[in-house]
Point group: C2
């Protein structure tokens, strides 16, 4: 990992009142360099020997609470994580874009450009959050055939 990137991750941690530990930097590094949202099992495969499973869960949970990453549930109900755009903060998430879950490669894409359209919902229902997951076959898997 490059020096300036490490610096960037450390800043991000400090900015959020978190200590800059090796485990956290490693998780940030991995998430930053993936083009799609990353599942806990995937992370566990990569860093499982260095970082305890529970620590991983706690890091992801903390990051989510701080607005550093956002969580998407895929079609199987497993959590996937992706770095938030930098307009996110602890009390102000802006991750209301559409996600695409490929049925073939199982990847979860953040379609940052595609926002969830406004909805007309019955009065009385108070909206706090919206989660739109589209599933199908992704660009790469379509090419591959």
């Amino acid at each position: 990992m490059e020096q300036n990137e490490t610096q960037q991750y450390e800043d991000l941690l400090v900015k959020n009142g978190l200590k800059r530990t090796g485990a956290r930097l490693q998780v940030l590094d991995i998430l930053s360099h993936r083009e799609s949202a990353t599942s806990q099992p995937y992370l566990e495969n990569v860093v499982g020997k260095e970082i305890d499973r529970v620590t991983l869960y706690r890091i992801l949970k903390t990051f989510e609470e701080k607005g550093i990453i956002h969580r998407v549930l895929d079609n199987h109900g497993t959590a996937n994580y992706a770095i938030c755009s930098n307009s996110c903060s602890e009390h102000n998430h802006h991750d209301e874009h559409v996600h695409f879950n490929c049925n073939n490669c199982l990847r979860v894409y953040c379609l940052d450009d595609v926002k969830i359209p406004a909805l007309k919902i019955e009065k009385g229902f108070q909206i706090a959050d919206m989660n739109l997951v589209v599933s199908g076959i992704c660009k790469d898997c379509n090419k591959a055939n």
Copy 2:
């Protein structure tokens, strides 16, 4: 359960090439009489002494495959089930309405009237299914305060 309802459930099973067993009729009866989608744990609480947990999973899976019920993942990634509108069939699901997951009572509502708006997604991504879960506080819980 009323006689004509039982008849109706039996027809539904036969129509889908399924045997009309007590367990299946019971599940259909419960799902039909609930105003919101029903989680596997809830069902297990109700019929857990009469129906084996594994059987319950298999019944729900079968029903979903046949288009009798549809599955919604709530915010925790646990499966919830609701009876499909009668236009659904094995190879033709029409459950693309919005779901509302209450953060307070945890209920999952099917907002049958609210359809998921059309999306413009990058070429190459082939859409098979869409799942929009809105979370917040539901009508009942808003009233209660």
